[in-house]
Subunit: 350 residues, 4 copies
C-alpha cells in the first residue's frame, strides 16, 4: 500500500536536522537535570534578549497543553476563570485540562477566531455589574492564541487594545504561541517577539510545531507572576529530567534565526497552496498562515483522502465540508505541487 | 425607613412553623451525628416510599451547590463532563463549583430553559464522531433543573425522552430539584416523585426554597452510583454534624403532604401575580411556577424598587429590563395584592 | 429498649434554647440571603469587637470541614502545603478534604497533640535547605486546633512562639477553633479571643459543638488574606441561602457571654468526670477541657457500653483501650453522676 | 575550571547512541501524532509479548511524575487514597502531584524502603474497622517502586504477597519502575517483566533513567482499568504530539535486549563502587542496584565534592552525612576507578 502524504497537521515529521545533529554532539556530556543546565540558561538569556525583556523568566516545557495548564494554574486563584474564544484550544481540544486544575473557561464567540478588546470588556462588565458576582467565576485571565486555531493572526493594534483592556480591568494577558513562528511569517503580520513581550503577561514560543522534536518556551514577562513557577512545572508533571534537551533545541532554533526561516518556508508554501486551490475553484477561509481551511464536497473529500491525510473540521450545509491542510517547516515544494495538481484534477472531474 | 417587601427570591423567611416546633420538641434528645440518626433513617424510608423506589439511597445535604458538586464529583471520572443548558445553575451561578472539582460543564442553548433529547444527542455525536475525541472532555452526565432557572417545567414526555437518549448513549441523568415542589404544583405539570425517580439516575428534592431552614434530599435511584457516597459528602464539607436537623425537616415536609401544599400555595399566588401584571399591561415570560419574569422599563423598575426587592435579570433592548419576582411557601396574599395595586398604578402613571 | 446516654461527642443534642427561641421570633422576617443580612453584619461587628480587631473580616460557615477546606483553598497556591500534627483533624478525619482541593498536609508528630514552634521551624528548614525544594510541596500554612483533638490546649506563650516562627518563615497561622469555647474555659487557659486574633492570620469560633445548631465563625485577621473570600465560600458549597441563621446564632451565643458560660459548664462537668474516674482507679490522658480520654480494659469497655455511647479511639497494649467521653453545653450533672457511679462499680466488680 | 564528574543521578547524559541513530534514520518520515503511529504500536506489541500479557494496554508517557499522577488519577475515585512508604517518590519528591489531582498519599514507614503485605493489611484494617471510616480517605491503591528510592528491590515472594493482600482487600497494585532495568539486573533479583505483569494492575518500564532521552512505558495489565486512559494522558498534559519518539525509543531499548544490557552495565559498576568503598573503610546502606548510599563525614564530603557531583540525602548523627552516588547506562569504568582512587585517598588522609 502506498504511503499517504500528510497535510493534516504540522507535527508529522521529527525535528530540523540541526537539532538532531546537536543532540549527537552533546549526547555524552554530563549536565545537571531539570532545566538548570547551561543550555537552558543560555537559551533563556537568548530569549530575554530577543524579547528585549531583561526581567522575563523563561521556562521550557514539553508541550502546549502542559504549558497552558501550568501557566493558568500558576496565575489564578481557585475562583478565577480564563476568558477565550469558543474555538480556543483550551476550550475545545485539551480534554478539560484547565477545568481539571479547577478553573472555568469562559468562552465568547469572538471574530475570525480572535478575541476583541470589546469581548473582554463585556465579559468583565457582565461579571462585576452583577449584584451577585460572587456566585459566578471571576474573569481574571485572557487567553489568546497567535496564530489562532483557524489560522488568523492578531495585529499589533489588536494586541495593544487587549493589553489596554487588561490593564483597565486588572486581568492577565496570556498568549499561546504554539504556532507563533508561522504567525510572525505571515505577510500581514506586524508583531514580533518584542511587541508580544511588551504586551503580554505571559506567552510562549512554540517549538513542537516549528521544527523541534518537542518543546515550548514559556516567557513570564510580568515579574509579579514569576514566583515559584518551577514548583508548578514539577507538580503538573512537566519538568523534563534531561531538561537540556529543551535548551539545546531552542538555542538551535533561535540563535541564528532558524525559527523564523522555518516559519517563512511553511507560510510561503501555504500561500502557494492557497492560491493554487483558489485558482482551481475551491472556496477557502481567510488565513495568511500555515493552516489553510478548504471547503470541499463529499465527493472531493473522498478523492483527496485517497492520497492525502487532511484534518476534518466540520460539516457545513448539505454536502460541504471544511478540511484543514497544514504546511510546516518540513513540507516539501514537491508535495505541495502534487497536491495542487491532484486537487485541480478532482475539481475538473466533477 | 420603611422595610421593603421582598419578592426577589424564595428564601427570605425562615422555616415553616411546624419545622421549628419540631426542632423545639426534639431539641434535647440525644442522637448519633452525621445523618445516621433515626430521623434521617425515617425520612429516607419515607422518600423511598413516595418515589416507589425501594432500592434508592437517600442522603440529606445542606444546600444546592453542595448537592450539585458532590453528586457530580461522585459520578464522573476526571475526563468526563456535564451537559446542561446555558442558563443552568451549575453553568452560571455556582462560582465554577463543578470546574473546581475538575469537570467541564458543556453548555448548549436549549429551549425555554430546557435541555432537549436532541441537544443531548447532538453533544454526544459531536464528541464521539470526532476522530480526536480523546482531546475533548467526554460528555457523561446530563444536568437538568426542574423547574428550570427561568420557571419552566419538563413534561413527563420530555423527561422520558431524555432518559431514552441517556440510555442509548450511556449517560447519567441528574435532576436538580431545588424548587421541585413549585414545579410539581404547576397546572401544566404531569410529573410526580415516582415518575421522576423512574427516569433519573439521581435527583434531589429541594427543601431550602420550600419551607425548610435548609436542606436538599438527594435520591440516588441507580444502585450502581450509590457506592461510597457518604465519603464524598464528608470530603466536600457537606456532612452536617447534627444531621438529624435534616431528617426532621424532611419528615415534617413530606409525611403529611405539607411540601406539596406549600408548593401549591406559592404557585397559586404566583399565577395571581402573573394574571394581575398581564392585565395591568406588563409583558411577561412564560412560567407556570413560582418564579415570574416581568419586562419593565427603567422608569417602572425605579418605581417598583422604591417599595419592593426584586431580582434584576438582564437588560433587553433600549430601556427595557427583565426582572424576576418570586413567591414562596411564605408569601402572603396581602403582599401580592399590594404589589399588584402598586404595579397597576405605576403602569397607569407612565 | 432503654435509650443509652450519649457521651461520645459534643453534638448529640440540638441547640441552646435561646437560639431556637430567637429563630421563632425572627422566623417570618424577610431578609436578603447569603450572609449579607443585618444579623450577620451585627454578629460580625460583635466578633470584631470581642477580638479587638477592627480590620478583621468575619464569615459564617456551616461546619468545620467546610471551614477548613475553604480557608486553606483561599490561602494557598497549588504547590503549597499545610503543616499540622499527625492527630490534626485535617490530617485524619476529613476524608482528604484538603487534598481534594489540591494541597498536601505535611504531618509531624508534635507533642501532646500540639505543634511546637520547633516543629514548624524544622519542616521549614527541611524544605528550603534541600537543593531540590521545588520537587517538594512548599510548607506555607500552619494549622493548629485549640483545644486539640486530644483535649489539650495551647498556652499564650506557645501561640506567640508559633506566630514568631510563622513571621520569620513567611507562613500563615490558622487556628481551628471547633471547640474553642471549651479551651477558653480550661483552668490552665491563658488565651482569649483578643490574643488569638492578635496571633493568628485566620481562626474560627466553633458554634456546632458549643450550643449552636451548626455554624463556625471564620475570622480573617490578616487583611491581605481577605480578598474574594465569599467567592470561595460559594464555590465550595458553603454559602447558606438563609445566611441569617448563622448570624442569629452567633449573636445569641456571643452578645451576653452565653458562649463562655456554656464552655465553663461543660468543662466543669468534664473535670468532675475526670476526678471521679481517677478516684475510681481509671488511668486517663491529660486534658483540662471537655474531652476526656480514659483507658479501659475490654471487660470494662463492654460494661460501659451497655448503658453509654462513647468514642472508641484505639487499642493499646494487650487488652487495654482508649475511649473518649465528652461533655458539652447540654450535659447534665445527673448523667455525669450516674456515669461515675457505674464506672466505679465496674471497676470494683472486676 | 575543570568540569566535575557527575554521580548524583542517572540522567546526566543524553540517550544511548542507537536511539539517536534511529531518530536520524526516521526523522523525515511522516506519521500520525499522539502515540497512534506504527512505532508506538509495535513497541506496545513488543512489550505485551515480553510481559506475556496479551490483554495489557501499553501507553507511552514522557516522565515519571506524569506517569504517576496520570495513572493514579485514572484509577481512583475522589475519596480514595494511595498507600506508600514514607520514602516513596509520590510522597516526597513530586511537589504534591498526587494531592494536586485530589488524592491523599497515606504513608507508612515500611522496611528497607519497601512496603510489606502486613503494612498494607494494617492500613486497610485501620480504615475499615473504624466506625467512622467515611471520615477518612479510603485506601484503594498500593504504590511501590522497584527498585525503591533507596536502591533496594522486591523479591518475587514479596510482590506476590502484596498481590495477595490487594486481592483480599480489593486494592490496586501499582509499581513505579522508573529504574526498573537496574532492579532486574541486581544479583539478588528474581523478578522479570512477566512476573511483574502477572502481579501488578499497572506498572511502568522506565526509560528516562535507562538510556532513553525520556519516556516511561505504562503497562495497564488489568483490563478493567484500561478504559479511556488516553483522555487522562491528554488532560494531564502528557500526550506527546510526536508520540512516535517514544515508540522508537522503546523499540530500540527492548527489541534486542539493550535495556537489560544497560541495566547490567550500571549495576556491575555500582557494585564495583560499593566494594571499593567498603574496602576503603566507608560505611554504606544496603543496595544491590545502581544507587549507592555512602556515609561520609563533613570533611570527606567536602573533599569529594571538589571533583564530583553527588546527591546529598541527609545528616545523621553529629557530623556524618548520607550521600547518594549513581551509576547509569552511561557511566564509564574509568570514572568509577578514578572515584574509588580519590575516595580511598580521602579516607586515608583523614
Amino acid at each position: 500500500m502506498q504511503q499517504k502524504i500528510h497535510f493534516e497537521c504540522d507535527y508529522t515529521e521529527g525535528a530540523h536536522p540541526k537539532i538532531l545533529k546537536r543532540f549527537m554532539e552533546t549526547n555524552m556530556e554530563q549536565t545537571v537535570g531539570y532545566g538548570e543546565d547551561p543550555y537552558c540558561q543560555k537559551a533563556a538569556e537568548l530569549i530575554r534578549g530577543l524579547c528585549k525583556k531583561g526581567e522575563a523568566a523563561v521556562h521550557f516545557l514539553v508541550g502546549g497543553t502542559q504549558a497552558n495548564l501550568t501557566v493558568i494554574s500558576a496565575l489564578l486563584r481557585p475562583h478565577q476563570a480564563a476568558v477565550c474564544v469558543e474555538t480556543g484550544h483550551i476550550n475545545v481540544h485539551e480534554t478539560g485540562a484547565i477545568e481539571a486544575v479547577g478553573h472555568k473557561v469562559i468562552s465568547v464567540s469572538g471574530k475570525n477566531g480572535k478575541l476583541t478588546a470589546e469581548d473582554v470588556e463585556r465579559v468583565y462588565r457582565l461579571h462585576w455589574e452583577d449584584a451577585t458576582h460572587e456566585h459566578m467565576p471571576q474573569p481574571k485571565l485572557v487567553y489568546i492564541s497567535n496564530p489562532t486555531e483557524i489560522g488568523t493572526i492578531y495585529t499589533k493594534a489588536e494586541l495593544e487594545a487587549l493589553r489596554a483592556v487588561c490593564d483597565r480591568c486588572g486581568l492577565y494577558l496570556f498568549l499561546d504561541g504554539a504556532r507563533l513562528g508561522y504567525g510572525l511569517a505571515a505577510e500581514d503580520n506586524d508583531l514580533d517577539l518584542e511587541s508580544i513581550a511588551a504586551n503580554c503577561d505571559v506567552f510562549y514560543i512554540g517549538g513542537t510545531k516549528m521544527g523541534a522534536l518537542f518543546g515550548e518556551a514559556v516567557v513570564i514577562c510580568n515579574p509579579e507572576l514569576q514566583e515559584d513557577f518551577r514548583y508548578l512545572i514539577k507538580q503538573k508533571g512537566g519538568m523534563l529530567a534531561k531538561g537540556r534537551l529543551l535548551g539545546i533545541q531552542f538555542l538551535e532554533l533561535l540563535q541564528d534565526g532558524l525559527y523564523f526561516d522555518l516559519g517563512e518556508h511553511a507560510v510561503k508554501l501555504a500561500q502557494k497552496l492557497r492560491e493554487g486551490l483558489l485558482n482551481a475553484g475551491y472556496k477557502m477561509q481567510d488565513s495568511t498562515t500555515n493552516q489553510q481551511f478548504v471547503i470541499v464536497s463529499d465527493e472531493e473529500l473522498k478523492k483527496i483522502e485517497e492520497k492525502y491525510c487532511v484534518s476534518y473540521i466540520e460539516r457545513i450545509g448539505e454536502d460541504q465540508n471544511v478540511i484543514r491542510i497544514c504546511t510546516s517547516w518540513a513540507t516539501t515544494e514537491e508535495n505541495v505541487e502534487q497536491f495542487l495538481r491532484d486537487a485541480e484534477q478532482i475539481k475538473k472531474a466533477l
